[in-house]
């Protein structure tokens, strides 16, 4: 999984007609910090990281074990309640418990353990190299597409496939194509089937369809995805319904519902992390030859936080602190809340935006962007002129 050969630099082409400067609330790209200022920023952030690293200990071990214990309890009780799912309260309780269990498994436990946040504990059950999660995407593949590609090349157009998953138009700079008219519908389908979206991430179906990636390579990757997904599919949709005997349809419906809730929730949280208004994307040139400070800067400008209470942060796997997570992906995520004020203060000191807002606000902002970018042109251009441009592009006579 170390190959970078399948990355083609022209995955997302830049629409040259759209090279006018952006007029959004925060300018895209990088604020003009000098190299010295970047180094200073890098040192300040390194110092925050070192302070947490020095302080890691029993508190963090107890925390993650408590979350694991909660997840196991929710999972077992959810599955038991669904067996009695012919009673409406048991069905509702079962779906709720199983949904929460799957969300914890994927986010606060799975995503964070797979980042190596708890490797220092040397506990084989929390070791990123061997951990696996209740997800169709294998942990090995995830570490490649997420830990490496997404976290190293965060919001670099053409490199970070989390920008629209190869399906959606998520930035002004992506060239508009007629298929993008389906942007809102495609986003909804991706959200409902987000588990598959993540699992198929590395297969790059869009690249196969456009002939840039060999079919044979994709077929081999697909068989690997199925190898992991199969067990999870059979568990939720065959084994547990079968164990329920005559209650099979109820258990099946409960499991489908829990997976759906998890998919919608994780999609919403993850898209709020990088696509609310004001979050920047970068060209490959902008991201080339970065210093450590420059890398930190791109992570801050390319991420957005969500405000919320303790339970909310837990259920997002602390990805509600996306900015802190992207700065320090391998620090235990429950620490992000502690360092957020320091990071925010640094942003103010350097005149940098610190993008945060309530869940409804950030999600609304993402939804507006997805809908708006279905049309040609930029998100903040007048709709009338963009509809005009759409008509002229779709009209064969105008070519």
């Amino acid at each position: 999984m170390s190959s970078t050969a399948t990355l083609t630099p022209d995955i997302e082409e830049i629409d040259e007609r759209d090279e006018t400067p952006s007029v959004g609330p925060v300018p895209a790209g990088r604020p003009a910090l000098t190299a010295a200022e970047l180094d200073q920023l890098g040192e300040a952030l390194d110092a925050i990281r070192d302070e947490i690293l020095d302080d890691l200990g029993q508190r963090d071990a107890d925390y993650i074990r408590d979350v694991v214990r909660l997840q196991r309890a929710l999972e077992v009780s959810g599955r038991v309640m669904l067996m009695a799912g012919f009673l409406p309260p048991a069905f509702l309780g079962g779906v709720t418990a199983l949904s929460l269990s799957k969300i914890l498994d994927n986010m606060e436990i799975g995503h964070n353990v797979l980042h190596g946040q708890y490797d220092w504990m040397q506990d084989p059950s929390l070791d990123s190299a061997t951990f696996d999660w209740d997800h169709y995407c294998s942990s090995e593949q995830w570490r490649h597409s997420h830990n490496y590609l997404h976290h190293t090349f965060t919001n670099v157009r053409g490199k970070d496939r989390d920008i629209g998953y190869g399906i959606l138009r998520m930035t002004d700079e992506q060239r508009w194509r007629p298929t993008h008219l389906a942007n809102p519908v495609a986003a909804l389908i991706l959200a409902v089937q987000f588990q598959w979206g993540v699992a198929l991430h590395d297969v790059e179906i869009d690249q196969v369809l456009s002939g840039k990636k060999p079919v044979a390579e994709a077929r081999e990757e697909l068989s690997r995805v199925w190898e992991k997904a199969r067990t999870q599919v059979l568990k939720d949709y065959a084994l547990y319904p079968a164990l329920a005997g005559p209650m099979a349809p109820v258990v099946l419906a409960g499991n489908v519902s829990a997976n759906l809730v998890r998919n919608l929730w994780t999609f919403a949280v993850i898209f709020c992390g990088h696509f609310p208004a004001g979050v920047a994307t970068f060209s490959e040139e902008e991201a080339a030859d970065e210093s450590r400070g420059g890398w930190y800067l791109r992570q801050m400008l390319g991420s957005a936080n969500i405000k919320g209470g303790k339970a909310f942060h837990l259920m997002t796997g602390n990805l509600s602190h996306q900015i802190e997570h992207h700065l320090f992906p391998d620090l235990p995520a429950h620490r992000y809340a502690d360092i957020a004020p320091q990071v925010q203060a640094l942003c103010e000191e350097h005149g940098l935006p610190y993008n945060t807002g309530g869940f409804a606000h950030q999600l609304g902002s993402v939804a507006r962007r997805i809908t708006s970018l279905a049309l040609p042109g930029k998100e903040d251009e007048p709709v009338v002129s963009r509809v005009g441009s759409l008509v002229s592009r779709l009209n064969p006579l105008s070519r």
Partner: protein, 358 residues
């Protein structure tokens, strides 16, 4: 499949940690002080424990401030105990993270992990009739296991137990040894003090008029056993003591009757000499001389192609187990000297000799 992908153990352990099947865990039943800074832990191993031979050691895993640490300890208990428990006797070292934790902070109910027992410092299956057990300091534990096992088995041949300790107060198992000496005429216990010029304590009192003293010397054994070739001898202790014993048996041409185990000191981090050490990529059977670059770059220069991603310490794709030696984390400057520790090879520079599982 019902618990996929986590495995049944990940649910069982929530009910009782020792029920797991993928590793052996043990519960601390009791702790008793033996000497200043020395305690004995009685452990009840859970599923998967198949017993050990007297003289063998196990790697004990214990969580210290959130981190699992693993250290080797000889089992001190009889191999034929009927309650299924094992005992380790631990001496706290001033800067020993694990030994201090075990002595000062572990209480009954704590869960530890145990490796399968290892080591060939064991009694022959057909027990020799005449035995000489020599130990120094905390090296007493494996030979104590042998003595206890022999007594439990009803061994009636002569056993000489020769132990070296700095002072009287440092003698581990002093009361039990005195009781054994009194109760078993076939067992001769000799405790020798090395730390002062006073005469050593001769616990058998009336058997010999010559009290032994000082570090191990050839004449110490001459008075106790008829001839080296007629005794099966076992020696465990600090390197200096064991080497002196080996020399003596070698001079007598009796090394085939001698079994030894050295208690090596923990490796001290080498001076910050980052160039010129031997870097061994153990799984690839490749060794290179360190040029000061990070391990990933040195491995690639040696023609290996380890998995890697960001090459800046972010993604953990390149994490490998360091088998031994010291590395420096380029980002923090921190030195890591623990054996069998996961390291990110893209940001780790070898300091001195290092072996990596790669």
């Amino acid at each position: 499949m019902a618990t996929a992908p986590h495995g049944v153990d990940r649910y069982l352990e929530q009910v009782r940690p020792t029920w797991v099947g993928h590793e052996v865990r043990a519960r601390v039943l009791a702790i008793r002080p033996e000497a200043p800074d020395v305690v004995t832990l009685t452990l009840r191993p859970g599923r998967g424990w198949a017993g050990a031979q007297a003289g063998q050691h196990v790697r004990v895993g214990v969580e210290v401030d959130g981190r699992r640490r693993t250290r080797s300890f000889s089992l001190a208990s009889s191999a034929v105990r009927d309650d299924g428990c094992v005992e380790i006797t631990v001496k706290a070292h001033a800067d020993g993270v694990v030994s201090r934790h075990l002595v000062d902070r572990v209480g009954p109910g704590t869960t530890l992990t145990l490796s399968p027992p290892a080591g060939d410092f064991t009694l022959p299956a057909i027990r020799p009739r005449r035995l000489l057990l020599i130990s120094g300091g905390s090296g007493i534990t494996p030979v104590m296991a042998m003595l206890r096992t022999l007594l439990d088995e009803g061994h009636d041949g002569p056993v000489t137990f020769l132990h070296y300790a700095r002072t009287e107060a440092d003698v581990i198992f002093a009361d039990e040894l005195a009781a054994i000496d009194r109760a078993h005429p076939s067992v001769d216990v000799r405790i020798v003090m090395t730390g002062s010029t006073e005469a050593g304590s001769d616990r058998s009192g009336d058997r010999t008029s010559t009290a032994l003293q000082g570090r191990f010397r050839a004449d110490h054994v001459a008075a106790l056993v008829p001839g080296l070739a007629e005794v099966e001898a076992f020696a465990c202790g600090p390197v200096g003591m064991v080497d002196a014993v080996l020399d003596h048996w070698s001079d007598a041409g009796a090394t085939e009757r001698l079994h030894v185990e050295r208690f090596a000191l923990a490796p001290v981090p080498a001076a910050a000499d980052e160039v010129g050490g031997a870097v061994s990529f153990a799984a690839s059977d490749t060794t290179v001389t360190s040029d000061g670059a990070v391990l990933l770059v040195q491995a690639e220069a040696a023609g290996l192609s380890p998995a890697n991603g960001c090459r800046m310490g972010i993604c953990h794709t390149c994490t490998r187990s360091k088998l031994n030696g010291v590395v420096r984390d380029l980002r923090t400057g921190a030195l890591s000297s623990t054996d069998e520790e996961p390291i990110q090879i893209c940001v780790s520079v070898p300091v001195g000799d290092v072996a990596v599982d790669l």
